[in-house]
Symmetry: C2
Subunit: 306 residues, 2 copies
């Protein structure tokens, strides 16, 4: 575990016990939630601290796994009650999924309060929680260098006003193609992105699942390929790993520039490719930085025409 | 029109009058068919000859358009009867389409006979026609340097035996992701491609529509991005333009290598991006090689992290 005062990247998000059914397997109460995936992904590149809430039933083995990843847990509140639970079933294409149940439990009372050691963090990932909570986190950090927000259809439909405030205050918004259309009312992705850039963020990343993602900025467009994997075991957490891997790599690089943002997004893509090869954090727990570097080199060859 | 004995690339395929309905517009009896799109796309890069059949009702204006593209029409048979007609409707996503009607007409008696001036062509594109006819064309060419075959679900389901013979005899097979799964019985694209490579071709290209395509060979994998367009007017012919642009660019390059194949595939991707910006060949008819070069340079920037 790295020794350092404070953390370089703060990640706030959901922490859940997931029950997942794919066409091939069924698993119960796996460690999940956006904060778990994002922190684990980021931990390969920078000292990362989590802001999350769990119940007293949260297994000690999961805390131990966070520790092994080197994730700072000062911002993790363990409170009376049950941990958030989610269960879902994936369709045969391993992309579309149905939510079977959502039990918010202690997550319903989540009010993310940052430890002092987190407030000076230069990088902040506002994972997919309500925009009001994202704003609450933003108020507690001292002039971070780069803030990225994730969002989802639920907030677009039910909390547009605070979401618009979040969008106007972050450096990057990340969302998927369907959400980009919902948010802007435009259909073409280029138009959606142009509209969002107009609202303030320097960068917009539109995710397209297995087909990769696209980065938009005033400096142009960058096509982010997905690293192709032989077999997808469980797609849960792919987007959060992409976001976390990206923010970790950016936090670990010396500058924030179009170039470093692009390079960091490729890191995110590669880390996500490992995530989907196992359930929960199982695959991420088994890889090292050199495995990531190997796939990075591979991805470079797969996208180079020369 | 270029003056040269023989042609460098021979394209065989369907020639049709298409009636197309998109969510925004409805057009009748447009010039279409795989051979029209592929030849027009290829004509920017190499002297291309078409092998196709049309009826006496085929409008002279279309022949004139072929001439303007510099397409050699020696292999085009104009016979008694009506030209092949196809009509279809695109869904709101501009990807899925329903075929409303297919009138084979003279296409039902198509027996592609190559003019002498085509038989020595070093490059051959076997467009999407029955595998038996593709084999019939293969018999007539003298040791071409590079043959690419396109196919579709219809032949996978109804003519597997001759299709397998085609596959074993070509340098490259091009098909979409759904077809690759149908053909191999595998689900993961990497497994599908490995199986097809085992059957003989040096290269397999799996198309994924707006998400680009992937090239597989014994030398590895190449991710081919789609050039992002502001607004898709009509996706008809995108795949044929991709195939034609690729084969034209390859035929126009001095060597056939992994590198030149990759570069040529990017040309195909760019040409296809123009095709979808208009109905029929309307957009392709208005661009020049320098428009293609500009998008090639743009695509390079969009895929470069450095």
């Amino acid at each position: 575990m790295m020794k350092r005062r404070g953390v370089r990247l703060v990640v706030v998000g959901s922490l859940a016990l997931d029950s997942v059914e794919t066409p091939f397997e069924k698993k119960k109460e796996l460690l999940g939630g956006s904060v778990s995936y994002a922190c684990a992904a980021a931990s390969f590149f920078a000292k990362t601290g989590m802001v999350a809430i769990a119940g007293q039933d949260f297994p000690a083995a999961h805390l131990d796994l966070y520790r092994k990843f080197g994730i700072d847990r000062t911002g993790l509140s363990l409170v009376k009650g049950r941990t958030f639970r989610w269960s879902g079933v994936y369709e045969a294409n391993m992309i579309d999924r149905r939510t079977i149940s959502t039990e918010l439990n202690v997550f319903a009372s989540f009010s993310p309060d940052l430890p002092d050691s987190y407030r000076g963090a230069p990088f902040v990932l506002l994972g997919n929680i309500s925009p009001a909570l994202q704003l609450h986190v933003l108020k507690q950090v001292h002039r971070p260098r780069f803030v990225m927000a994730d969002t989802m259809d639920l907030w677009i439909n039910t909390a547009r006003k605070p979401l618009m405030e979040v969008i106007s205050r972050v450096n990057m918004l990340m969302l998927n193609d369907v959400e980009a259309r919902q948010l802007t009312g435009e259909y073409g992705i280029l138009k959606c992105a142009a509209q969002i850039l107009d609202w303030g963020p320097e960068y917009v990343v539109v995710k397209k699942g297995e087909h990769g993602a696209m980065l938009f900025s005033k400096r142009g467009l960058f096509i982010i390929p997905a690293y192709p994997v032989e077999e997808v075991c469980d797609p849960t957490g792919a987007g959060d790993s992409f976001a976390g891997g990206f923010m970790g790599a950016l936090a670990g690089s010396s500058v924030v520039s179009e170039r470093s943002v692009r390079a960091a997004l490729l890191c995110g893509s590669v880390v996500a490719s490992f995530t989907v090869e196992g359930f929960s954090l199982n695959r991420l727990a088994k890889i090292s930085k050199s495995d990531i570097s190997k796939r990075m080199a591979g991805l470079k060859k797969m996208t180079s025409a020369a």
